[in-house]
């Protein structure tokens, strides 16, 4: 699955899409492929504050549990309850239906520091087994 060009990426395999001052965060196709079958998801509550580079959630697969890191500072305004109930959606639709949280970002410019789709594709290629 190609990394969509309409969003930014982190070195730790999250993606971020900004609309106004609300950032939608998910994990990449490379991430779900490396993880294997995803069985469990923990997300922060609406109203929680999360910080740049902080672990804000857990994604667990048959293989291992992983921390999810925040690419921005902000407050959680929405969480995807469908995915919490059916974490396997992340394997199927990591870039669309299986978004994880929406964050009201304090400073949208934080996204400038992140990777473009091309830069992320390079990273993923060199990390692949």
């Amino acid at each position: 699955m190609e990394s969509p060009g309409d969003r930014k990426y982190t070195k730790t395999h999250e993606w971020v899409a900004l609309e106004g001052d609300v950032a939608t965060i998910g994990v990449t196709d490379f991430a779900q492929s490396e993880l294997g079958d995803i069985t469990y998801l923990e997300l922060p509550d609406v109203g929680d504050t999360i910080s740049l580079d902080q672990a804000f959630g857990i994604i667990e697969s048959v293989k291992a549990a992983n921390d999810i890191f925040s690419p921005v500072d902000g407050d959680v305004v929405e969480r995807n309850e469908d995915v919490v109930s059916a974490p396997e959606m992340i394997n199927a639709s990591p870039y669309s239906d299986a978004w994880l949280v929406r964050i009201r970002v304090a400073d949208p410019k934080q996204l400038d520091a992140l990777l473009s789709a091309e830069e992320y594709a390079e990273l993923a290629k060199s990390s692949a087994h």
Binding site: D37, V62, A64, A65, N66, D67, F69
Partner: protein, 397 residues
């Protein structure tokens, strides 16, 4: 996203962790089975396991698991070890070094058994086969313990020069493939003239399958019906290809080590390094049924008898998590009312049950079906209850 090492598969030397071993594998000389090229063609994800490069998954662990429960799966078991034990004293020798009663084997029988140490712990779990129409026995051992077991077996022979027995590691000359699942028998029937419907569980025979000479055993590590085949090494690929082709219309898929582990856990089959170790008694592991104290003297007999007599201090129990908090995993602490009572030996998401299950070695006084436990996951005690074992039992006709 970053993996939490303490929340990853295994955590022991031969674990199923897919990630960091790749960095090390350049230093390790990994052995490859005869089916290496087939795995590559099938898009397998390969990992180091017990010194071998093995498929951990193909289509995905959960899909493969469900396939074995509903159709059939094909397993490359070329990493396992096989030892021929022959000679006039093969039986007394094997009686000495195993816990089960080898004299109960008629020609064509197989039995699950343990190699005990002097302290009454376990060196490995094994299957002992007595082939029909030929003398001697075939002992099949775990890949992770192959070198250790062969060394031990040779040592037990050489320190008893009065025993006329030959112990030969024949692993290099034998390939091993398993087919497991409700459609396995129908698939195999298409490839042989031999009527295998009469081959009972834990029995074996020689047959021609796909025009190849094989030993067929009705044994397995999944809780499903199925067969394990021993074939001359150079015929392994041919047998795999034949089974694969015959199984195509019956839903047969290749199965990796990931699903192999979740399948055996649901069927409450122990894994050496988890439920079995040199400091775990067979009685504590719940495998007293594989110990025949009355058969006569054997290594570790007195120690095992003492544990049975006084009652084990620890017991292996099955549990299911009652809260959604992720999976229990090997090594996670087990508590009850704030007290440490044991450790998780194996844990995983159960695709068949749709819940989180596991086995734990706990203080005998807290053990009991229906009683509570707390499994510590990422620092938090998670409510669990002890459940009847096995977690899954296949429907019998």
């Amino acid at each position: 996203m970053a993996e939490r090492p303490e929340d990853a598969c295994g955590g022991r030397e031969d674990d199923l962790n897919m990630k960091d071993k790749d960095a090390e594998s350049g230093e390790m000389e990994l052995r490859e089975t005869a089916l290496r090229s087939r795995h590559a063609e099938l898009g397998a994800r390969l990992i180091p396991f017990a010194g071998w490069l093995m498929p951990v998954q193909y289509s995905g662990v959960i899909d493969e698991h469900r396939t074995v429960r509903s159709a059939a799966g094909l397993f490359d078991l070329g990493h396992m070890g096989q030892v021929r034990v022959t000679g006039p004293d093969a039986l007394p020798y094997l009686q000495l070094i195993t816990t089960n009663d080898v004299s109960a084997l008629s020609p064509g029988d197989a039995q699950y058994s343990l190699l005990p140490n002097e302290q009454g712990g376990v060196i490995d779990d094994i299957i002992v086969y007595r082939l029909a129409d030929e003398p001697g026995y075939l002992v099949v051992v775990n890949a992770a313990n192959h070198a250790k077991d062969v060394s031990w077996m040779q040592q037990q022979r050489s320190t008893r020069p009065e025993l006329q027995v030959d112990v030969d590691d024949v692993s290099e000359s034998l390939g091993m493939i398993a087919i497991q699942g409700p459609t396995a028998a129908a698939i195999v029937a298409e490839l042989t003239e031999t009527d295998l419907s009469g081959l009972e569980p834990f029995h074996c025979l020689r047959a021609t399958v796909a025009d190849l000479p094989v030993i067929v055993a009705r044994t397995g590590y999944t809780g499903e019906d199925g067969f394990e085949f021993y074939v001359p090494q150079e015929q392994t690929v041919a047998l795999w290809d034949a089974l694969f082709a015959a199984g195509a219309s019956r839903g047969l898929k290749p199965i990796g080590l990931g699903a192999r582990d979740t399948l055996r856990l649901e069927a409450r089959m122990p894994l050496y390094g988890n439920e079995l170790a040199d400091d775990i008694s067979p009685i504590e592991a719940g495998l007293g049924w594989a110990v025949k104290l009355d058969k006569g003297s054997f290594i570790g007999r007195e120690a095992i008898a003492a544990v049975k007599e006084s009652g084990p201090l620890r017991r292996t129990v099955g549990f299911q998590l009652l809260e959604r908090a992720g999976s229990a995993r090997h090594g996670y602490p087990v508590k009850l009312d704030g007290r440490d009572v044991g450790v998780v030996t194996s844990g995983a998401h159960s695709p068949t049950l749709g819940s989180e299950i596991g086995l734990a070695l706990v203080d005998a006084d807290v053990a009991g079906v229906g009683r509570p436990l707390e499994i510590v996951i990422r620092g938090r005690p998670v409510k669990a209850e002890q459940v009847k074992l096995p977690f899954y039992r296949r429907a019998r006709d």
